[in-house]
Amino acid sequence: MINAILVFNNHGKPRLVRFYQHLAEEVQQQIVREVFHLVLKRDDHICNFLECGSLFGGSDYKLIYRHYATLYFVFCVDSSESELGILDLIQVFVETLDKCFENVCELDLIFHMDKVHHILQEMVIGGMVLETNMNEIVAQVEAQSKLEKAEGGLSAAPSRAVSAVKNINLPEIPRNINIGDINIKVPNLSQFM
């Protein structure tokens, strides 16, 4: 499970803080600070994994981080996650941000904090990785921002348009997985189908 996702800049200013386990506010702030100090000490060319000791109240936890230009992306995970897998998940996250913001930079993260959270929500829910397919995530996010525009445009329109807005559905997102025999088949379980 992923316990926390932290993004901060080279000066330790938090840019995104998401905890998936309940911790008191002070503890969260302390974790952000200590993680920053742990990560800052490290050169860029040594390994991307770090044991964070008893920071989360157990010895099982690990920090996996990547450093991009001015930002550190740090995932705190327990032993049930694959280290290299998470490392590439960070890459996917950043690439997705890049696609959604077109050349993402630190300012995007600051001024569109809510949007960054929404993108993250499509990837990781409640500490579990839900989606790793970049196109799918971008499609979901774009569908929602289209909606945003539509609503923005409609907001000045007569009130009868309101019900139309309310019932707008997500546009069809094609996802070619159900073509012919490339479905995943689980023969032993057919009785449940």
Binding site: C47, E51, D88, E102, F111, D114, K115, E136, N167, F192
Partner: protein
């Protein structure tokens, strides 16, 4: 709702003038994207302009105040509210509390349009936590959104549910979410599965009935939904792998298809098909195949294929490879795969990429126990890693070395660890490493000097953060001693001398724990060193007492040491000075100590008696009833003092007084002052200082506790077998030089890695030579051709310190083996005096008897010890045994001794005739019990089990029947440690012999340790026939096996009910045929063993307890065909479990 939106929208145009809505995400880069008037923007800009933390705080507080005013103003539109929420999120991220906004976040989620709702939900999931009271207000919104026709709303609701949801409200949304599993959109199905995963994690019992639906999700036509369901399966399999073995085939098929590229290209990441999915599946397979040959065989092919396919040189393929390797080493081994996996590990270790190297080391650490040769192959790399600049790599290398430590390389490895310990700053690393060093030092110390020096370094470097077990274990080791009294004294003397040298240094700052260890050792053993004047030691301790950095706890230790030393000096100036000095100390504790010392010092004989030399391990007889105070009490009562009331009685009185106003006049203050005086007197430093005066004893009891409680982490080195006769020790010593020389030879062999042949040797640089030398010292004694044992851990022959367990010796006498040794002498008194043991002894005689009759030629010697009792009691024996059957059940209850229950000899004979039909011994037949079921069979043995539900435990009876025609010797039954269950005595049982064609049985008392509705207790049997055979079995135990009725009065019920806090309520439909309350209660009573306390009208109260004594109360009420159940218990998981059982039995009835 819609009119709220309408109103909102009508206000918007006015607002649009102020805010530029066109700040779309697709604008130009950088600042251009930020709307110039955005308030968030200006907030952030002003924060960036600040220079100090203090200014930031001021600014944010200002911002929060203005936000507070805005959000609570009634005129604030939802759109503005949304913006406020984003600003609040920002403030919270910076660590400023903004709890005033929480309720508005919920409101926004409830009332806003899609966009506002989205921000509202986001804010809620960021601000609140699972147990937050405001969260209940969200439930209604979630329910409404789940029913919405708008997909986006449903999605948002599902997202928020899978992030955060109150546990007790799950029933409200569960049916809605179950419906969503059939939704036509895969994104909805995926999120629904994710929500169910969340429910499974926080309340597994509530989703038990939908396991079928999980299976459906697993074979969903969309791969994303299937992948989401794997989270649930991984979790469930982690908890109980045996329940899902049937799915192995499905997981293998899925993995095969993924690896084979059957998924759409969409799922590829750097042209690797669905890597994260593969990783997840490999983990699941590893868990399923662990220790299970048949299941493992199913996955060999697909693992091989995965290894083969993952050849592209990308990070993510290494992730898959690493997972494959781990799985291969976890499941039942197959040599071909192991070879390939080993090659893979090589790839990792030798990789120039630092991440892969780290993982390679991790993999090596993981496999080293199975394959020590692998470490030999990579020894040079490991040496290089030891000096790696990255501390993480270094630490992992030390972890690896720790696992390969043995008697020959311990000095080098511990040295390396100490070097690292001195450098590291992180507390966690220090604690961890100090523990490991202490463990290795105890286990493999080559000599006294080294041991003491190493421990000194651990204490001085580790400081006060080291785990308290380390000093405790160390002192215990010194106190209890080893096999050899002379050795013991040498070790103690060396310790004393080294501490004296350390204390010699002026201004040296030692950690408190180290000082405590020093003072204890000096106090106990300084008299062993004859060439040092006690006066010198006393002076040193005295000067320590005056240091400011010494804490008062340490001072107590030092005072205790002074007292002990003073007890065997005739008269000492230092002691007098010390008494004088501290008699007026401001520290009351010290003053108390000083006074005690003063009084004791006046009566030397008493002092010697009180503090005998080297008696820290001797048991003390404590008069727990404090009978010596009787006179004092009587005198007190005579003078009119109030009699003593136990705590609970006082509590009750206090409660009853609190409920109403007190109209009685206050009593005389006299009585209470006396009693309070008594109390403080008892808690005063007397108690404290007595503990420390005899700190030997107090420390000792502490040790005993840790011995029984906390030994899990520490390898059991000083167990019951700790005491070994001297003869054996000598053998060990004779062996030592041999193994060393053998190792020396090896060092030469090992030191030449195959890559470096003789022609290259000349070109080796100095540095390389050094490294090679280090390698040869580090990896000495490793490898299959090493002659000594492969893993240092198992080699105990070279172990230096073998603790003699004085405590256990006495306990052991109850055990059969010891009994045989001492039978002749112990038997008589045991038979006469201790009623509980009588039966037990007879049990032993009985086995002895049977042995005698069957193996008369072999066991003559064994029987010698039994001869007298045999002849004496033979006639009476059978009578006694038949009497026993009545008392037996109560016997189990009270005795902590191993239950050793022979079947009466007559019974045994009949068993051999009616072959292999296990039946319960007579004394258990009358108790409620399950049927005897077969657990497993092999050619030679069959295993059966039967559950006997006694009043205070579940008595698990395991029958072992020997199907062969020859007797089986030394059949061992071993239960594995289970997460949920606890076996009261030792988890093993040995049948010394099982005759041909006969059945033996053993019984184990089991308690439920951690609540679950159903769990598995597994174990294994091994025995010696021609070769050592071994097979495994598992027994399923359910919660109901541990539930017993609890009898109580209605009044008690009421009291208990009010004192319990965890409650669970649920309504169950009653089947129309049995609509009455009494019928329902009867069902519960009969099937769930609940005790009906009372029935009043349409309400009934029931009580039960989970063994050993966790109560659970149930209140039932019927209304309009529904049965409302309300559980309360001090344990939060128990009501859930019982509710599930109730639902089940009510459905059945």
């Amino acid at each position: 709702m819609s009119d709220v939106v309408e109103r909102t929208l009508s206000v918007l145009p006015g607002l649009l003038g102020q805010h530029d809505p066109g700040a779309g995400p697709a604008g130009a880069g950088g600042h251009g994207r930020v709307s110039s008037t955005s308030r968030l923007g200006s907030l952030i800009r002003s924060i960036t302009a600040l220079t100090s933390k203090h200014e930031e705080e001021k600014l944010i507080q200002q911002e929060l105040t203005s936000l507070k005013a805005t959000v609570s103003a009634p005129t604030t539109t939802l759109r503005l509210m949304k913006e406020c929420m984003v600003r609040l999120i920002y403030c919270e991220m910076l660590g400023y509390e903004s709890s005033f906004g929480y309720i508005h976040a919920i409101k926004l989620a409830q009332q806003g349009n899609l966009l506002e709702k989205r921000v509202g939900y986001l804010a809620v999931s960021l601000f609140l936590h699972e147990n937050h009271e405001l969260l209940l207000l969200l439930v209604n919104t979630v329910v409404k959104d789940l029913q919405s026709t708008n997909l986006v709303e449903v999605c948002m609701a599902l997202t928020v549910v899978s992030q955060i949801f109150p546990r007790e409200m799950i029933p409200a949304v569960l049916p809605l979410i179950e419906d969503k599993l059939q939704h036509s959109k895969e994104i909805i199905r995926r999120k629904a599965v994710q929500a169910l995963y969340k429910f499974y994690v926080i309340a597994p019992n509530q989703v038990q009935h939908i396991h079928d639906k999980f299976r459906k999700a697993l074979c969903d036509r969309d791969a994303g939904v299937m992948a989401a369901s794997l989270h649930i399966y991984l979790q469930m399999i982690k908890e109980n792998s045996s329940g899902y073995k049937d799915l192995t085939g499905s997981f293998v098929t899925i993995l095969k298809q993924v690896v084979g590229g059957k998924l759409p290209v969409d799922f590829n990441y750097h042209s690797v098909p669905a890597p994260w999915l593969q990783i997840q599946l490999l983990r699941i397979l590893g868990l399923l195949g662990k220790d299970d040959q048949r299941t493992s065989e199913l996955m060999y092919d697909v693992l091989d294929e995965s290894l083969r396919r993952a050849e592209i040189n990308h990070n993510i393929t290494y992730a898959i490879l690493f997972e494959c390797v781990q799985t291969i080493y976890t499941i039942y081994p197959k040599s071909e795969l192991l070879e390939k996996a080993a090659k893979c590990i090589g790839k990792f270790v030798l990789s120039p990429k630092i991440n892969l190297k780290y993982l390679g080391l991790k993999a090596l650490t993981y496999v080293i126990q199975q394959d020590p040769n692998l470490a030999l192959q990579h020894q040079m790399t490991i040496i290089e890693c030891l000096d790696h600049p990255d501390p993480i790599i270094k630490r992992e290398t030390l972890e690896l070395l720790y696992r390969i430590t043995n008697g020959q390389n311990v000095i080098v490895i511990v040295q390396k660890m100490l070097d690292y310990l001195r450098e590291s700053k992180e507390e966690y690393a220090i604690i961890n490493l100090a523990g490991k060093i202490a463990e290795l030092a105890e286990k493999y110390a080559p000599d006294n000097e080294w041991f003491i020096q190493t421990m000194n370094s651990v204490f001085s470097v580790g400081g006060d953060v080291v785990h308290p077990d380390i000093p405790n274990n160390f002192l215990r080791l010194l106190a209890e001693g080893f096999d050899d009294g002379k050795e013991d004294n040498q070790l103690r003397m060396y310790a004393v001398q080294s501490y004296l040298t350390l204390l010699e240094e002026e201004d040296a700052l030692y950690p408190q724990k180290f000082l405590q260890v020093m003072s204890w050792v000096l106090g106990e053993y300084s008299s062993l060193v004859t060439n040092v004047d006690p006066e010198v030691i006393l002076t040193k301790l005295h000067s320590l007492l005056k240091k400011t950095f010494v804490t008062s706890e340490t001072k107590a230790w030092i005072m205790a040491a002074v007292t002990k030393i003073a007890s065997h000096t005739s008269c000492s100036k230092t002691v007098d000075k010390l008494i004088q000095e501290f008699s007026n100390s401001l520290d009351t504790c010290m003053r108390q100590h000083a006074f005690e010392l003063k009084h004791l010092y006046e009566d030397k004989a008493l002092m010697k008696n009180l503090l005998p030399f080297d008696a820290s391990c001797n048991d003390m007889v404590v008069d727990a009833s404090l009978s010596f105070l009787d006179e004092f009490v009587a005198e007190g009562l005579g003078r009119g003092a109030a009699p003593y009331k136990p705590h609970h009685q006082r509590q009750e009185e206090k409660l009853s007084q609190e409920k109403a106003l007190n109209f009685e006049p206050y009593g005389l203050s006299f009585a209470s002052s006396v009693s309070s005086c008594g109390v403080t007197g008892r808690q005063s430093p007397t108690g404290l200082s007595f503990g420390s005066d005899m700190s030997g004893n107090s420390a000792e009891t502490g040790h005993k506790e840790t011995n029984t409680l906390k030994l899990e982490g520490v390898r059991k080195l000083w167990g019951k077998e700790g005491y070994l006769p001297k003869k054996e020790n000598k053998v060990g010593k004779e062996n030592e030089p041999q193994t060393v020389s053998c190792g020396g030879l090896l060092a030469v062999q090992v030191g030449d890695p195959p890559a470096l042949q003789s022609d290259q040797v000349a070109s080796l640089s100095e540095e390389d030579k050094e490294k090679q030398q280090l390698a040869s010292t580090l990896f000495i004694g490793l490898g299959s051709n090493a002659g000594v044992s492969l893993m240092g851990k198992t080699d105990t022959a070279t172990q230096k310190f073998k603790r003699k367990s004085k405590i256990n010796e006495t306990q052991n006498s109850e055990e059969a083996t010891d009994f045989q040794d001492s039978a002749a002498s112990d038997f008589g008194p045991l038979l006469d005096t201790i009623p509980i043991n009588v039966e037990d002894c007879e049990g032993n005689i009985d086995t002895g008897l049977r042995k005698a009759s069957l193996h008369s030629s072999d066991t003559v010697e064994d029987n010698l010890a039994f001869e007298t009792p045999q002849s004496l009691r033979k006639s009476g024996l059978n009578d006694r045994l038949s009497d026993n059957t009545l008392s037996q059940s109560s016997l189990f209850a009270d005795s902590n001794i191993e239950i050793f229950q022979p079947s009466p000899s007559a019974h045994c004979e009949s068993a051999s005739k009616t072959l292999l039909a296990p039946s319960l011994p007579e004394e258990l037949e009358d108790l409620p019990h399950s049927e005897v079921v077969e657990l497993c069979q092999s050619d030679a043995l069959a295993l059966y089990s039967c559950k006997v539900w006694t009043d205070d435990s579940l008595l698990l009876t395991v029958f072992v029947s020997n199907k062969t025609t020859s007797a089986l010797n030394a059949v061992n039954l071993l239960f594995e440690e289970a997460e949920h269950f606890q076996i009261l005595e030792s988890p093993t049982y040995q049948f010394p012999v099982i005759e041909a064609q006969s059945v033996e049985h053993c019984q184990k008392c089991v308690w439920m340790h951690k609540i679950c509705t159903q769990g598995v207790l597994s174990g294994s049997v091994n025995y010696q026939s021609e070769m050592e055979s071994h097979f495994e079995f598992s027994i399923t135990l359910s919660l109901m096996d541990f539930i017993r009725p609890m009898e109580m009065t209605t009044e008690d019920f009421g009291k208990l009910w009010l004192s319990l806090s965890n409650d669970v309520k649920q309504n169950i439909k009653m089947s129309s045929s049995e609509g009455s309350l009494s019928a329902a209660l009867n069902t519960l009573q009969q099937k769930l063993k609940l005790h009906i306390v009372d029935v009043i009208g349409n309400e009934g109260i029931l009580a039960c307890q989970l063994l050993p004594s966790v109560p659970c109360l149930l209140h039932c009420r019927t209304h309009s065909g529904m049965l409302a159940l309300w559980f309360r218990s001090p344990c939060s998981a128990l009501p859930d479990g019982l509710l599930y059982q109730c639902q089940k039995v009510m459905e059945e009835s």
